[in-house]
């Protein structure tokens, strides 16, 4: 993991001091709500339905046991004893009173954490592959680059008030586990024919009410130049992005409207910076800096990379539940004697991605015992242990089961992505959690879940798409009609992974459903797949082959309170 330097620590403390001053002026009445808003947002404080929400940055998803213990302490002492892990690999608290905000920021600073730029119209916390640095299919470890980007984007003075929020995702593997096509900027590390490292750069992806997949604007930007290239993109966006209409302010709208002219403007700006600007080359990344940062991401101390894999026991000698856990929650590792293990945060009785203070402590203990004190927050809202010895898998399974993290459902229907929805979020049109719960209960049976197989179900409580419904094989979107909660269902969306195919938004299957109809409609969609699938086809394959119509017909057939319209 990245090791904070004295400079980094001083920086976070300075930010906490600055925020304390702003908060004091706000509480004293010197700084009105409207003006305090943009300041608190850029520190992660978001006013929700019940209390401010604090979004804590987990840079590119990397978390230490020590940090997670501290988050547990904050959950217990300041919140109602839980937190919510998000698709952007962050952690949200829902119940911390604003007056205690400065205290919490200082507790976070004790463990090198903060909420800087987790909200607001700025460059947000950078996300990456949860298997960064350990995936067998990795070409280049993205973490050192993520950290350099994190530093570059942190309190960038020119880009603090962009037209709209700005999200960057980075991957360095063949498989895209970071959904880079759905980000304002997506970066894919690769090597050219000479073995040099560079970035394929996508720009203009985003969800919301106009889902657009990013387009490639740079085929190979040498790694040394990436900060300058990003500066060019963000400056063009800052200058030309729309500010007259909130819904048209994301960079995706600019890229779509301008097309090649946008790319030309970025390239011209890039050349200007390097050729004309005073010290324009100052942000070319020196090899020494990459090396300094990369040293933080070497193997954890005490890990034996040369260790031979343990002899695998014959599968039929293992308990069925353990086999299932191996199949779903344990992932291949670039070191043959190690595995990555997902701790499922998708279990009966709790909202997807939620963890209590006690559960955070238990997960941190598992990381200390089995994974060199390191965890990852995954895009799918689970926790992952990146450094587990293969011969310790049985012991981990027992311990994870005791702690309630061993539901063997990773990648299955109940491993769904869901936003906090209308129970917490002031933006939401509809609740997410009761719908997620109803679906989880409906599909509790593991044999059935396994028969359905790999599937991404994504649920958002409103069009802001925090639950990524556009990219779900099945997407559910909460909408508001005359004050009632309704849910639109889509099929065949993709996040851009190999399994899901090229990133694409799903297709709507008819008018919205009432909340109580949703589990039936989802079941009808699933049963259509089970009936129509060809050998070896997963849900996404069948739904792409058939198109939305058969799913629509099946879902219409189970409507009770809503009426279908003619196709």
């Amino acid at each position: 993991m990245y090791q904070y330097t004295e400079f980094d620590r001083q920086f976070v403390r300075a930010r906490a001091a600055q925020f304390r001053d702003q908060l004091r002026r706000h509480l004293d009445g010197e700084l009105p709500d409207e003006e305090f808003k943009a300041l608190r947002l850029q520190n992660g404080w978001y006013v929700q339905r019940h209390a401010p929400m604090l979004r804590v940055a987990v840079p590119y998803g990397e978390l230490s046991s020590r940090q997670l213990h501290q988050l547990a302490r904050i959950a217990r002492g300041f919140d109602r004893d839980y937190g919510h892990f998000t698709t952007r690999q962050n952690l949200q608290f829902n119940w911390i009173p604003l007056a205690r905000a400065a205290e919490v920021m200082e507790l976070l600073a004790e463990v090198d954490m903060h909420g800087i730029q987790t909200s607001g119209n700025c460059i947000r916390n950078i996300t990456s592959d949860a298997l960064a640095g350990i995936a067998p299919d990795e070409v280049v470890d993205p973490r050192p680059y993520c950290e350099i980007l994190r530093q570059w984007s942190t309190l960038h003075p020119e880009f603090a008030f962009l037209p709209r929020k700005f999200k960057i995702a980075v991957t360095g593997a063949h498989e895209d586990r970071a959904a880079i096509g759905w980000h304002d900027i997506g970066l894919q590390l690769l090597k050219n024919a000479q073995g040099e490292v560079g970035f394929k750069v996508l720009a203009g992806g985003g969800m919301g009410r106009t889902p657009i997949v990013g387009s490639v604007i740079g085929e190979f930007v040498p790694w040394q130049q990436i900060l300058v290239y990003l500066e060019a993109i963000v400056r063009v966006y800052n200058r030309l992005g729309r500010r007259d209409n909130l819904y048209k302010a994301r960079i995706k709208i600019l890229v779509k409207a301008e097309g090649q002219a946008f790319v030309d403007a970025v390239n011209a700006e890039f050349r200007h910076i390097l050729q004309h600007d005073h010290e324009g080359a100052a942000h070319l990344i020196p090899q020494a800096e990459l090396d300094r940062v990369a040293r933080c991401f070497q193997l954890p101390e005490g890990l034996d990379a040369q260790r031979a894999p343990a002899a695998a026991p014959a599968p039929d000698t293992l308990p069925a539940a353990y086999r299932r856990w191996l199949e779903r929650n344990v992932h291949a590792h670039r070191l043959p004697a190690y595995r990555a293990v997902t701790l499922s945060l998708k279990r009966a009785g709790q909202a997807p991605g939620d963890a209590t203070g006690d559960q955070m402590d238990r997960a941190a203990e598992l990381a200390t015992r089995f994974s060199h004190g390191e965890l990852r927050v995954t895009h799918d809202q689970n926790l992952l242990l990146p450094w587990v010895r293969d011969d310790e898998l049985p012991a981990l399974w027992v311990a994870a089961r005791e702690a309630g993290f061993a539901t063997p459902n990773i990648g299955l229907l109940t491993d769904m992505i869901a936003c906090p929805g209308g129970d917490f979020c002031a933006l939401a049109n509809a609740r997410s959690i009761p719908v997620a719960t109803a679906i989880s209960e409906r599909f509790e049976d593991l044999d059935r879940l396994y028969d359905i197989g790999d599937i991404d179900l994504h649920l958002s409580g409103c069009i802001n798409s925090c639950g990524h419904h556009h990219s779900g094989h099945i997407g559910i979107l909460g909408v508001d009609k005359d004050g009632d909660e309704w849910y639109q269902i889509t099929v065949a969306g993709s996040d851009g992974s190999t399994l899901s195919g090229a990133a694409v938004p799903g297709k709507v299957i008819g008018p919205s459903f009432a909340a109580e109809e949703v589990p039936d409609a989802i079941e009808a969609v699933i049963e259509t797949y089970r009936r129509e699938r060809r050998p070896g086809e997963r849900f996404i394959d069948t739904s792409r082959r058939l198109g939305p119509l058969p799913f629509r017909a099946a879902a219409d057939a189970v409507r009770r309170t809503t009426a279908a319209t003619a196709v």
Binding site: A38, L162, R292
Partner: protein, 184 residues
């Protein structure tokens, strides 16, 4: 950073009853709109300093010719924040400084709030006209929280990775007053 009191500002707009005078005479201390400047720039005397009030939609690269040369006629560029959350002028200021090497005054006007000061200073502004209700004292304090930043800017073009951070940190830890009273 200079704090401008509009009551004692040497620069004056050239306006008649119907708004900006289309062809202002070449006199000292005139703050012109871009339209006025375009109307008079061909005849404006060398050596007579003018100020320009620029919309935040302007691509400042289009001013390149006016900014070039040993004796530019423009001494003041006023950049606008129609809303304080509209950050376009930060990019304008930075490009004026680092690309066009503009050495005159770059001033922020409009909805200028104290918490913008660090951003303004780092993007090349050297003068601000705060919104009337803002406190200069709080604005000065806002400039004091950070000893250094990660990325380079107009004042410090070198990013942290090219600087001697140990020396910077030593300088700050000696400055005990910086964090005094901040509860950390």
């Amino acid at each position: 950073m200079r704090f401008i009191d509009p009551r004692h500002d040497r620069w004056h707009r050239v306006e008649g009853e119907d708004g900006p005078v289309p062809h202002p005479d070449p006199l000292a201390d005139r703050l012109l709109t871009l339209e006025q400047w375009h109307a008079v720039r061909d005849t404006w005397p060398r050596g007579l300093a003018a100020g320009l009030l620029l919309p935040n939609t302007l691509d400042v690269d289009t001013l390149a010719e006016d900014l070039r040369g040993p004796q530019p006629r423009l001494a003041l560029l006023v950049l606008q924040f129609p809303k304080w959350t509209d950050g376009r002028a930060y990019s304008q200021a930075r490009v004026l400084r680092v690309r066009h090497r503009f050495g005159g005054e770059v001033r922020a006007v409009g909805e200028v709030l104290v918490d913008m000061l660090p951003l303004l200073q780092r993007t090349g502004f050297d003068a601000v006209q705060l919104r009337r209700d803002q406190s200069v004292e709080a604005a000065v304090r806002a400039l004091g929280f950070f000893a250094g930043h990660y990325q380079g800017d107009v004042r410090q073009p070198q990013p942290a990775f090219s600087r001697d951070l140990l020396a910077e940190a030593a300088a700050v830890s000696n400055d005990a007053g910086l964090y005094a009273g901040q509860g950390i």
